[in-house]
């Protein structure tokens, strides 16, 4: 169990994070979301002890030694370019005081899981950005920390690697670990997160289980493809219409309004794709911020 209580770290112009509290259980993936400069990275750095707190506390129930409790994947690429992949993994694992035997065994497992066996003897400078990110992920979790902190882990990855990362992160959380992650790719992390904290201007503006948040929110969405003409724009109960390429998304006041529009759309389907969705994270955050 990770419990952050009233964590405050403020810098000039009120940047940083203020009065942030959150709790995560084992096996939980917690999303920390917010605009650039909202305080996500400061929160992570405070948790990792990289910068001292002004106020508040961080409590982690863990059987591991302090050095192994956290794993961290920073947003920026932080690789030693002239090292070989295995050398870099060995280095970061040895910093976490893993034995040679442990490193050897875990390295094989994680290289396999992240489909990087072929990169073993390559230098990091020869690896693509995505592959470097994979190696950094291995470095951050090879010691099996209780809390894995991932700052924008999906940035710069192609579709197949995004899928792979999501799978690895989910599997890791299911093994009884806590994952804290931040991302701007809300659609990608939505299916992953069990709970989330939204920060804005250093403060928490929304927090809770994703299901609860969605349940408490009245708006529902209907998406209709090939609907440049906004056929259902005049239907009652629509609060907002958004265009994404040739798809139109109708944000409705209530579920009944959404079902009404969806029924109409199904009747006049004409080959179009129609989706009735709960509120997405993107909608929610767009709404909140």
């Amino acid at each position: 169990m990770l419990r952050i209580e009233r964590l405050t770290k403020l810098f000039a112009l009120n940047s940083g994070c203020q009065d942030v509290s959150l709790a995560c259980k084992k096996g939980e993936i917690h999303g920390v979301l917010g605009k650039n400069g909202s305080g996500k990275t400061t929160l992570f750095r405070c948790l990792l002890g990289l910068i001292p707190l002004d106020e508040g506390s961080v409590i982690l129930e863990s059987s591991l030694s302090t050095i192994r409790q956290f794993g961290y994947l920073p947003e920026e690429r932080s690789v030693i370019a002239d090292l070989r992949v295995t050398e870099m993994i060995d280095f970061f694992a040895s910093l976490k005081q893993m034995s040679h035997k442990e490193i050897r065994e875990e390295k094989v497992v994680w290289l396999q899981k992240l489909k990087c066996e072929h990169l073993k003897f390559k230098r990091l400078r020869e690896c693509s950005k995505g592959n470097q990110q994979k190696i950094q992920l291995i470095c951050s979790l090879i010691h099996q920390p209780d809390v894995l902190i991932l700052d924008e882990p999906l940035t710069g990855l192609d579709i197949s690697n995004v899928r792979l990362f999501k799978q690895v992160i989910a599997d890791y959380a299911h093994s009884g670990k806590i994952v804290l992650l931040s991302s701007h790719q809300y659609e990608e992390i939505e299916p992953l997160c069990d709970s989330l904290t939204v920060l804005d201007k250093s403060k928490v503006i929304l927090q809770g289980k994703l299901g609860d948040i969605k349940r408490n929110h009245p708006i529902k969405t209907v998406s209709v493809s090939e609907d440049a003409q906004m056929i259902y724009a005049l239907q009652k109960g629509i609060t907002e219409i958004r265009h994404e390429g040739n798809t139109t998304r109708y944000l409705c006041k209530s579920e009944a309004d959404a079902i009404n529009i969806a029924t109409l759309a199904l009747k006049n389907r004409d080959g179009r794709t129609i989706k009735v969705e709960s509120l997405t994270l993107k909608d929610l955050l767009g709404d909140q911020q």
């Binding site: 810098f11 947003e75 932080s78 690789v79 370019a81 040895s94």
Partner: protein, 397 residues
């Protein structure tokens, strides 16, 4: 910290360039210690002495002065060089270099003077001696060899300082510019990182000395097994690097007459060197936490080298017993950093009291401890400055 140090040492000492250098120095030591054999094989003219023939009267008088680059040949037909005594002078025949010609010239002039003097009555010789030879006594004059060793020590310390003090600072800059520092600090504390950098600098210096030293000792042992080093010593004597001929390295070492006091001076010089290097290394690490790019690092290295060069020339300039005992040299021998050059100079050129030595080492140690304590805080506050998304640190209130 152990992992950080072993990783860094491995990176520094176990890379292709380092291996190339080890190989190069190993081969170089081999070449130097077997120079006589290699030269005898590939350039025999440089090491094989020329055979020279002269009449027996001349050889009786001048044989003992014959330099090692010549060997007497009894048979004139087999000799490379022949000296004929004629009625009106001397005739030299043979294929010789200008330097060898000068040696023979001195030899003949010497023989000629001795022969002439023998024909002059003793009373006139005694009178000539009084005219030609002045009796000079020297008192309180420093031995030239001591000045020479002072210069060698200053230069050695200066280059060791330059070589080792900046290496660690570059590593900190590299870790900062690649953002690796942020990840490392999730595993080790700022304090551990700080002290590990200083230890890395020291260990690197010691290990490099050991590695290169091993190459030298290896070839030295081979040479001792081979011929006790007599061939090499013979060539060195022939080239006038040695003032007397020696049959073995052991004999040459004994002739150096190294006493306990000399060893003490060497150990004290090494102590001042280590103290100075550690202090400069520490200051460089503390400066390096403010550096955020390779360009900035390069901009700082220039003035640093210039500053060290000024200190070096200052040490060379203030290198007399008087200046070191009473002038600026005296003050500098107690000044941290500068003391690593000036106190060894004083030790070599003048008598230094034990209390002065303790005071100088004490001042150096206090300076080091102050820098270590205040530096730790400075290091912690500034290490993450300039890395990605670190504006929060710059704006800290």
């Amino acid at each position: 910290m152990k992992a950080l140090i072993s990783f860094s040492l491995n990176r520094r000492l176990n890379n292709p360039v380092s291996w190339m250098l080890y190989g190069f120095s190993f081969i170089l030591f081999g070449i130097v210690l077997f120079a006589d054999i290699l030269l005898a094989t590939f350039a025999p003219a440089l090491v094989v002495p020329k055979s020279i023939h002269m009449n027996s009267a001349m050889f009786d008088r001048m044989g003992e002065y014959l330099p090692a680059s010549f060997v007497y040949q009894n048979d004139p037909l087999k000799a490379d060089v022949l000296i004929h005594v004629k009625d009106d002078g001397y005739l030299v025949t043979g294929n010789i270099t200008i330097e060898q010609g000068q040696v023979i010239d001195h030899l003949i002039v010497g023989y000629h003077r001795i022969s002439m003097i023998e024909q002059i009555p003793d009373s006139i010789v005694s009178l000539l001696d009084q005219v030609m030879i002045a009796n000079i006594e020297w008192e309180n004059v420093a031995e030239p060899s001591v000045n020479h060793s002072g210069f060698i020590v200053i230069t050695t310390i200066y280059f060791m300082l330059l070589s080792f003090s900046t290496a660690v600072a570059n590593e900190v800059v590299n870790e900062k510019t690649s953002n690796v520092i942020e990840v490392i600090l999730t595993s080790v504390s700022h304090k551990e990182h700080y002290y590990s950098k200083l230890l890395i600098g020291w260990f690197t210096m010691l290990m490099q000395l050991m590695i290169h030293g091993f190459g030298f000792v290896f070839w030295l042992m081979v040479r001792i097994v081979f011929d006790n080093g007599s061939g090499l010593l013979n060539v060195l004597y022939r080239w006038q690097f040695l003032s007397a001929p020696y049959d073995s390295i052991e004999e040459w070492m004994r002739s150096l007459n190294i006493q306990m006091s000399s060893l003490g001076i060497i150990i004290l010089c090494a102590t001042f060197l280590m103290l100075g290097i550690l202090l400069v290394q520490l200051l460089m690490v503390l400066i390096s936490v403010h550096i955020n790019s390779i360009e900035e690092a390069a901009a700082i290295q220039g003035p640093f080298y210039l500053g060290m060069l000024i200190v070096y020339y200052l040490a060379i300039f203030i290198n007399s017993a008087d200046q070191l005992n009473y002038g600026w040299g005296y003050i500098f021998s107690y000044t941290p950093i500068l003391s690593m050059l000036f106190m060894p100079s004083r030790l070599l050129l003048t008598d230094v009291m034990v209390s002065e030595l303790i005071l100088s080492i004490g001042i150096g140690l206090v300076a080091l401890i102050i820098c270590l304590i205040f530096g730790e805080e400075h290091y912690r506050n500034n290490l993450l400055k300039g890395i990605a998304k670190s504006t929060f640190v710059k704006n800290e209130t």
